[in-house]
Structures are given as C-alpha cells and as structure tokens.
C-alpha cells in the first residue's frame, strides 16, 4: 500500500536541509495532495 498516493500531505521543509517547495514537487509526483507547505529557518 502506498504511503502518499491520495493522502493529504503537510510539509515542513528546512532552509538548510530540503526546502518546502522541493518536497512539494516530490509529494505531488507521488500523487499526494499538498495541503500545507512551510520552510523553517534556525539561523
């Protein structure tokens, strides 16, 4: 069973890791619906 297809996905990206928008593109490619995407910054 797939983890992402058809699911509502919440994205918490990281400025110094993988930013939210990059994860969005991946999640959408897996058939997930992105309902929220944000990028955090610790510096």
């Amino acid at each position: 069973m797939s983890i992402l297809a058809g699911k509502k996905v919440i994205i918490i990206g990281d400025r110094d890791g993988i930013p939210g928008q990059a994860i969005e593109a991946c999640a959408e490619s897996a058939g997930a619906e992105v309902v929220f995407s944000s990028t955090e910054c610790f510096v």
């Binding site: 400025r15 110094d16 890791g17 993988i18 930013p19 939210g20 928008q21 990059a22 593109a25 995407s37 944000s38 990028t39 910054c41 610790f42 510096v43």
Partner: protein, 514 residues
C-alpha cells in the same frame, strides 16, 4: 570604472541582559511557559564579558585570529579559551554592554532612552575612552539623567522596555507613541540597538579604510529591522540615521532589505553605484538584532552549554573607486537566484555559483575561497541546524563532481581547500558571506588568493509574502591594475595568453626531446 574594497569594520557587542529580556525565544517562553524549567535554568548559562572575549569565534570576527587558525582548533569551541582576549581587533571591537547602553542613548535623537544617573556616572568615562567614539558622540549623551524610581515607574506604568545590566534595571526605552505599534517601546528598542551597532561598525570601517568621514557619499544599510510609523511601517532610513551619528556629513543613503541575502545585494549595489560613477565612496553597513539573541538557547541550555548567542553583530564595508591596489568587485560575474530558479538545493547552488562562472569559462575550482553563510557551527550544531558553511561547501563540491570539475576522491578535501570554518554569530544577515570580506581583502592583497566568491542567501518565505528563496553572489578578485580605456582583451590577459602558449610550446618540445 572599477569599484574596490577599501576596508571593512567588524564589531560585536556583548549583551547578556538583552538575551534574557529581548531575545524572542525568551520573550515567547515568558508568554507560553513562564514557570518552565528553561527560564529558571537560563541565567546559569550566561557568559561573562571575559568569557565572550576569550571565545575563539569572537576573536576571529574582530580580526585578531584568522579563519585558518580557528579551523585548527578542535570543536566544540565553547569549552576552549582563546589565547587572545583583547576587546579590540584590527577589524573592530567587542563592546561591553555598559558602554553600548550609553551609545544607544547617544544614538537616540527623540529623548526615548532613559538611563539611571549613577549608571551613567559610572560608565561614561569608559565610552569616552573608546578610540572610535569622539566628542561629538559623547556630546549627544544628555547631562540630565533619570532617577531609578522614575525608570521603574516608566517600565511599570508606561510600557517602557527595560534596559538591564548585571540583572539590574539601569534604564529604559520609552514608546514614541501611545497607540502606534510601530513606535512601541519594543520596536524602538530593537531599532536603536540596530542603529547603535551600525554606527559602531561604520566608525570602525571608515577608520580601517583610512578615508576621511567627509569622503563618504552614500550609505546602504542592509540589516533586517524596519523603522517607520503606522502609516509607513518600513519607511526607513537606518542608513542615513546611522551616518548622522557617525558624522558622515556628506552622505545620504538608503536601506536595502532581503533577509540574510541583503548584505550581498547591498555590496553589489554599492559596487555598481561606484562603478557607474554615481558616487565615489559608498559604505555598506548593518547593525545587529536583539530578537535573535539566545535564539537556540533552549538547545544550548538542554545540552549544558553556555548561551553563545549573546553577541549583537555589526559590519561595514567601504567601497571606493579604483585605487590600483585594493581588490575589485567583478560586476561581470554575478550570481542570481531568480524567480524561476526554484528551491531545489542544486538549482539554488547552480544559480549562485556555476552560472556566473560559466559565463567566463571558469570552473568551480577556479575560485580560491567561497564565503557562503558563515554561521558559527558551535552555535548551530547543538541546535540541530548542522554546520551551515560545511553543508554549503559539500553542495558546491557535489556540484563540481557532477560537472566533472572535481574528482569524487577530492570531495572530502574540498571544504578545507576552498572553504572556511564559520565564526559569525547567528544574527541573520551578519553571517551571510560578508564576515570574510575583511580577511579576503588582506589575503588577496598579500597574493595568497586570487578570487573569492561571496554568497548571500535569504529566507524570503519567513515574511509570508512569497514562498521563494533568494540569493545573490559576487566575486572579489585581485586588482588587475590600471584600467583599460575600452573593453576588450586587456594587456594583462594578452600577456597571460602569450605566456601560456609559450609554456605549452616548451612542454611539447621537452616531451619530444624525451
């Protein structure tokens, strides 16, 4: 026309009491968790001024130690004592809190900063003795100061923001308007701290560059605060406000904003203003940020570490017309993260690093040193943000491998060879590429380096106006000597080409002879 880096100033202010009272991690905690363990534990982790002085990264920031020397010291650094603990360095200084509170008052032109009489008496001489502070600044400190009881009343009844030293209330910053939130005591406090630290940086940079104050025609402030009232929240202009206190009588200026990328934007703007002939001397400046004090304090306290985010940072760089010796800013080699670049880390690094190099047929390894985000890993690693400069170097190296410009086996040695170990406090815009400009200038002039790339990156999405990231980069290179009258191949380049052709020819002959 060319523009050159004439000098730079780097300053820190040790503000332990502001960590407790003004850092947003602490002010937030006071609202959501006032009786929590963190606020109880925190005061035990505050450093003394002497500890801040003998902290390795701080001594690098003001120029008493080099990034290479720091890289040779085993991490963590917070438990090591630097063998140099001067408060003055050849780039600037580390100012103690008590002097800074007086300087804040000198920078207040609206009668909002109140200090207790005895406190002023005790510390006025120390500020006057500071080599960059002259009598025009001392004259801005009012003769009439305030009683302790009145300060207490202002804090209790008038929403004033307290100024503390060694845990004692020694002054306050009043609100500048009863209703306007943009002129609240909190905002005014934050802005005066930014302004006063910018003034300190400006004075250091002008002194280090060996120019007269009258020479400065334009100042660009690239900090992350906003000043204005309720009808123009970000009206500005920190640049001119700081220039006034610093005595730069012939300067006007403006503020450039762009989160942590702003210093790199401002440097390019300054270089372009000079290169175009609009102004002969432009200074880029920024003060520091109270909000970020103790930003990662929870992690530091949890791990039994001292609060290392107790320093307000500031820097200023003087950009002038060509003097024939100072390193140049190459405006023909700019990196730009554009709206269309996207946020994929490889796309970001390509836009900032390889796009400008490709334009000139250069390889990643043709840049001697990269200065991206120079955050001190001693602060960021325990907070879960990793080693930010190192991550940048790994990305640049990975890109070089992908492009076939670096052997995979050399991946691990790339950061040491083309990179630096971070030493700047996590004051947002302060670490962003610019802390290295002072060292880069010296190393390029000493012939140790030829080309250095400064990279600024900014988290625009934090402002909630866009989801985009941002960044720009520029290259500082050795002065190429007398300017050519027209564009085209310079004499130097022709000489270089001839020399290379002769070397190649000789090599061929020798190979044949063997």
């Amino acid at each position: 026309m060319k523009s050159v880096i004439k000098g730079a100033g780097y300053i820190l202010v040790h503000t332990p009491d502001m960590v407790l009272h003004n850092g947003t991690t602490q002010t937030t905690e006071r609202i959501v968790n006032p009786d929590g363990e963190y606020l109880k534990e925190l005061p035990k982790h505050i450093r003394t001024f002497e500890q801040a002085l003998s902290y390795w990264p701080n001594q690098v920031y003001i120029g008493n130690k080099t990034p290479d020397e720091l890289a040779a010291v085993e991490q963590p650094w917070c438990d090591k004592v630097c063998d140099v603990n001067d408060r003055y360095g050849h780039f600037g200084q580390i100012m103690p809190q008590e002097e800074f509170l007086l300087l804040m008052q000198a920078c207040d032109v609206f009668g909002l900063v109140k200090l207790e009489k005895g406190f002023v008496e005790a510390h006025k001489a120390a500020l006057a003795a500071n080599p960059i502070i002259d009598e025009t600044i001392m004259a801005r400190i009012p003769a009439e100061q305030t009683d302790a009881a009145e300060i207490q009343r202002l804090v209790d009844e008038e929403h004033s923001e307290g100024l503390y030293h060694n845990g004692e209330l020694v002054g306050c910053v009043n609100r500048a308007h009863d209703i306007d939130v943009n002129l609240s005591a909190h905002v005014i406090h934050e802005n005066i701290v930014s302004k006063a630290s910018s003034v300190t940086a400006l004075l250091s940079a002008v002194k280090n560059a060996g120019i007269a104050k009258e020479d400065v025609e334009y100042v660009v402030d690239c900090a992350e605060e906003a000043c204005g009232d309720m009808n123009q929240r970000g009206g500005g202009n920190f640049a001119k406000s700081a220039a006034e206190i610093a005595g730069l009588a012939n300067a006007t200026g403006s503020d450039a904003r762009g989160f942590c990328a702003a210093p790199a934007h401002a440097m390019i703007e300054a270089a372009a203003l000079v290169a175009s002939g609009a102004y002969k001397t432009v200074v880029v400046t920024a003060g520091g940020c109270t909000a970020k004090l103790g930003m990662n304090g929870k992690d530091h306290v949890k791990k039994g570490l001292p609060i290392m985010e107790d320093m307000i940072g500031g820097f200023a760089v003087v950009v002038t017309q060509d003097d024939g010796v100072s390193p140049e800013i190459n405006l023909d080699m700019l990196g730009r993260h554009t709206v269309g670049t996207g946020s994929a880390p490889q796309a970001v690094i390509s836009s900032l690093v390889t796009n400008p190099l490709d334009k000139h047929g250069l390889k990643i390894t043709d840049i001697d040193k990269y200065s991206p985000e120079m955050q001190n890993p001693d602060i960021t690693k325990p907070a879960g943000a990793g080693d930010v400069p190192l991550a940048n170097y790994k990305m640049i190296a990975a890109l070089a491998v992908k492009r076939g410009e670096l052997q995979k086996a050399d991946l691990a040695s790339f950061p040491a060879k083309h990179g630096l170990t971070g030493w700047a406090p996590t004051q947002g815009h302060i670490p962003s590429g610019v802390p290295y400009i002072g060292f880069a200038r010296e190393d390029i002039m000493a012939g140790k380096l030829n080309r250095v790339m400064i990279i600024g990156k900014g988290s625009l999405f934090l402002g909630r106006m866009t989801n985009l990231f941002d960044g720009v980069s520029f290259v500082i290179q050795a002065n190429t000597g007398a300017e050519e009258a027209q564009a085209g191949v310079s004499e130097e380049e022709v000489k270089g080409m001839i020399a290379k052709a002769m070397r190649d020819f000789a090599a061929t002959l020798m190979a044949q002879a063997e």
